[in-house]
């Protein structure tokens, strides 16, 4: 047992040093140490592989080794270690954590393209969660995200082409033709589909507008994921476009229950590039929830729940909606540019949660709107 303890302690020290190196920006050395930690922790676990009575020692060592394997992308090895741990008799709590880890392993597999080839103007979106089965997903959760991704593609394209934010009216026909979004048949992994931007690509004016749009979306979502709103705003300096991007990202992000993970994969320089969007429970999204978007952030910060009854977008810089609460109080809510058409309007007649700043005249300057989850 002493040897197991020594190997485990060495593994944990190496894992700590790897974290330290990661923070110093030395990613390749960090991966090297994580791999060393993984080898030692796996060795420790294998030394008590047949000691099924030794719980929780056995399952915790296996879980720890599997977590390290996943960190250095030894996906198959992580799967094997988790399976070995579950084949024993782990305490319920550790068994649940092993299953969570296994979900991450499977999601990594789904992110990987597994024989599906992607062109540079295509990307894959994978979903997992309670409403996602093997090749099947609840239509609402899937269709809404498809619509939001489509909207994001067009908005980013319009921004890239230097167009002012379009609060009303249709997308231009030329842009529709150039950037039209195509969807593949879903694949039975978690639930994975390929999006193709721009059909046959014959009419794209300059090389790679579609690629540019996809790269911009990936980088923007990466910054959103890291809650690095300063960097995101530098990347999208136009307020309306920035607000719109954050609003759409919030809608695409998983709710943590029905949809647990949303992952995107693309191919760049012949390599898979993946991005997993965090759940709202993660720190980063909590930071984003609290971040004041560039609205008129003056007055008391309040939250109201009610039915979205009225939307008036005649003033493009300051649309107006009305929300009727259960007490039949009616609130006028001012919607800043960038949010009315893509974020607010799809929720018309729905029960919504509004957060914003209460003004002296009783109206609210909108910060965030989301649908209330029904029981």
């Amino acid at each position: 047992m002493q040897e197991v303890i020594e190997l485990h302690n060495e593994a944990m020290d190496l894992a700590s040093q790897a974290m330290l190196l990661n923070m110093q920006g030395e990613a390749s050395r960090a991966i090297y140490l994580t791999r060393e930690a993984f080898y030692k922790e796996r060795q420790a676990a294998l030394m008590i592989a047949n000691d099924y009575d030794m719980e929780p020692t056995r399952s915790v060592l296996y879980r720890s080794a599997a977590a390290l394997a996943l960190e250095c992308m030894e996906i198959r090895e992580a799967e094997r270690l988790i399976s070995s741990a579950l084949s024993g008799d782990p305490p319920d709590e550790i068994a649940n954590e092993l299953r969570d880890l296994l979900e991450q392993v499977y999601f990594q597999r789904h992110l990987s393209l597994r024989g599906v080839s992607l062109d540079s103007h295509e990307f894959q979106v994978s979903l997992t969660g309670e409403v996602v089965g093997f090749g099947i997903a609840q239509s609402d959760e899937f269709v809404e995200r498809v619509k939001d991704i489509e909207t994001m593609v067009y908005r980013v394209a319009e921004r890239k082409l230097g167009k002012p934010f379009r609060e009303r009216g249709q997308r231009s026909k030329k842009l529709r033709d150039e950037m039209e979004l195509y969807l593949s048949v879903p694949r039975a992994s978690s639930f994975a589909v390929t999006f193709r931007v721009g059909g046959n690509q014959l009419s794209i004016p300059s090389i790679g507008l579609a690629e540019e749009v996809i790269d911009d979306i990936f980088e923007g979502l990466r910054l959103f994921n890291d809650a690095d709103l300063d960097a995101l705003q530098k990347r999208i300096p136009q307020e309306a476009y920035f607000r719109n991007f954050v609003g759409l990202s919030r809608k695409i992000a998983p709710d943590g229950k029905k949809i647990k993970t949303v992952g995107l994969t693309t191919i760049r320089n012949s390599k898979e590039s993946t991005l997993v969007i965090h759940t709202p429970q993660s720190n980063s999204l909590q930071i984003i929830e609290k971040t004041e978007l560039p609205t008129l952030a003056v007055g008391e910060y309040i939250e109201i729940i009610g039915i979205l009854k009225f939307a008036d977008s005649r003033n493009p810089r300051n649309g107006l909606i009305q929300v009727v609460t259960d007490d039949r109080d009616t609130y006028k809510v001012r919607v800043p540019e960038g949010m009315m058409s893509d974020i607010v309007r799809p929720m018309f007649e729905d029960r919504v949660i509004i957060t914003g700043y209460l003004q002296k005249d009783g109206s609210i300057n909108l910060n965030e709107i989301k649908r209330e989850e029904s029981d």
Binding site: M12, N96, E97
Partner: protein, 196 residues
């Protein structure tokens, strides 16, 4: 009239003990689950998080939940280099919470961090008595730690609930503690799991 026991509890909770984050960087025989490297990383992260919330060099850390207590917490000057190094807020908050929990939990529970294991991208910790020779992770209480940079009472409550909900109470549940550290107050909510 209050019993002696109650009076002692009240008196203990009113007392303020001193803790110093620099202690985490010292090898201590009663903290075998820590290496100096890990301790230094956590101490630095906690100092940076506290300073980011406007506390300079020392503050009073309030404990609530299943314990009521307060600690005078102090730390060395935070340099620009430390700020640069700890520039990922999420990571700093997580590691800062590890550091503070490692200092307060032994004082609240008389158990010390004996072991740690890898869990997801972070660690969980195992508490035990230093004199108990039980094998790795056995007969130990588990400590799950989480940090919040600047949060409300609602945020802390929700984080505790999330941590507790991850465990469905059953005979297979492991005994242990949840420690949520909030850096703006600063405060820590320490809750016992599996109170059966």
């Amino acid at each position: 009239m209050a019993s002696y026991e109650t009076l002692l509890v009240i008196k203990f909770s009113e007392m303020s003990q001193k803790i110093n984050l620099n202690d985490l960087c010292i090898d201590k025989s009663d903290r075998p689950g820590w290496s100096k490297v890990f301790g230094g990383l956590c101490a630095e992260a906690a100092s940076v998080c506290l300073e980011k919330q406007g506390h300079i060099n020392s503050s009073t850390l309030h404990i609530d939940g299943d314990y009521s207590h307060k600690f005078e917490i102090s730390w060395s000057e935070v340099t620009d280099e430390m700020h640069r190094f700890q520039n990922d807020d999420q990571v700093a908050i997580e590691f800062g919470a590890y550091g503070i929990s490692a200092l307060i939990i032994p004082k609240l529970t008389n158990l010390t961090i004996i072991e740690r294991s890898k869990k997801g991208t972070g660690f969980d910790f195992w508490l035990g008595s230093i004199d108990d020779p039980a094998p790795l992770f056995q007969k130990k209480a588990r400590l799950e730690v989480s940090g919040i940079g600047n949060g409300t009472e609602k945020d802390i409550k929700s984080r505790v609930n999330t941590k507790l909900k991850q465990i469905t109470p059953s005979d297979g549940s492991l005994p242990g503690y949840v420690s949520i550290v909030e850096f703006s107050a600063p405060c820590s909510r320490v809750v016992k799991k599996c109170k059966k």
